[in-house]
Symmetry: C2
Subunit: 184 residues, 2 copies
């Protein structure tokens, strides 16, 4: 966590995301939670993390709305940590990270894959535009400033668009695309 230049104050959604889950253990905790782990000692055994650190990370994720701390036993009092909707939306990030790691950091072959529960077949994660279905890592797409961008961001992106012929798309209503989006 950066002290003075806290990312919380940055408007960029990527920076903000990092502020929420940018720490190593946080991501790994989410990974394990998606795998069904819920309890303190499960996480601890899985990650081999010091208990005080685990407490800290867990609390941080609860504070940031990624875990919900829930009582599963009254006496003795016991809690479990379950993923919130916000955290469940984080899964694409995790799976993208997984796919990237498998491609570039696992020359011996994958140790973790995404599978179709029904037939066990390995899935191959690709990021596409929901409406057109086109792949987002093509040259057809780029990042651009949105309506809430600061002047600083606009300048950075204005610079970047020079010579690349990118149109500067901006100040569009948030829901501009939703109208004709084919439901889910």
């Amino acid at each position: 966590m950066v002290a003075k230049t806290s990312f919380e104050t940055r408007p960029c959604p990527i920076a903000r995301s990092l502020d929420d889950v940018g720490e190593w253990w946080s991501i790994l905790l989410l990974r394990d939670a998606f795998q069904g782990l819920k309890r303190f000692d499960q996480f601890q055994k899985s990650l081999e993390i010091a208990p005080n650190i685990l407490t800290r990370r867990l609390n941080s994720l609860v504070e940031r709305g990624l875990f919900e701390k829930r009582v599963y036993c009254e006496r003795p009092l016991r809690h479990e940590y379950v993923l919130t909707a916000k955290a469940r939306d984080f899964r694409p990030v995790l799976l993208s990270l997984l796919a990237w790691g498998n491609k570039h950091l696992a020359p011996e072959g994958p140790s973790l894959v995404v599978v179709d529960k029904a037939d066990g077949r390995w899935a191959e994660p690709v990021l596409v535009d929901r409406q057109s279905g086109r792949q987002l890592d093509s040259d057809d797409f780029t990042m651009a400033t949105g309506p809430m961008a600061t002047e600083r961001m606009r300048q950075r992106y204005r610079f970047a668009s020079q010579g690349s012929g990118l149109p500067l798309v901006d100040n569009r209503p948030v829901d501009q695309n939703r109208e004709e989006a084919p439901g889910k």
Copy 2:
């Protein structure tokens, strides 16, 4: 970076990815690089990062094969930092992070969006399986250990699959799916 329990030694592709790009500035540098920034002072102005730290992060990313340091001027000697293929493959992670941040951390509206260069329309990033086109954040898919998983990983995932009825898919050849994959 974790000292003793370096993620480098972990087989999990997510942990390995974090070891490469798990630090805040690294991700933000990649974001800027995707936006076309290449030079030291461009990054520095954009991020408001201390020059020594910028040097450190840049070198780290070069070492890890995400940036290529290239001479663009002989005298005086000047370098620029350009994305490698490995880094370009990282884009889905960045865009997923961006989409998540926009959804959950930008109540005022987005400051950064993904757009179709052709018509300026906002894209909506969704992670799907390349072959079936089905969304990966549905309940149909899960993570499972691959052939190179350690016993530790298998145990964690064996536990997790209890009660959820997940089949344990394992020891399949790396290329099992490729055979009938409709070329890109």
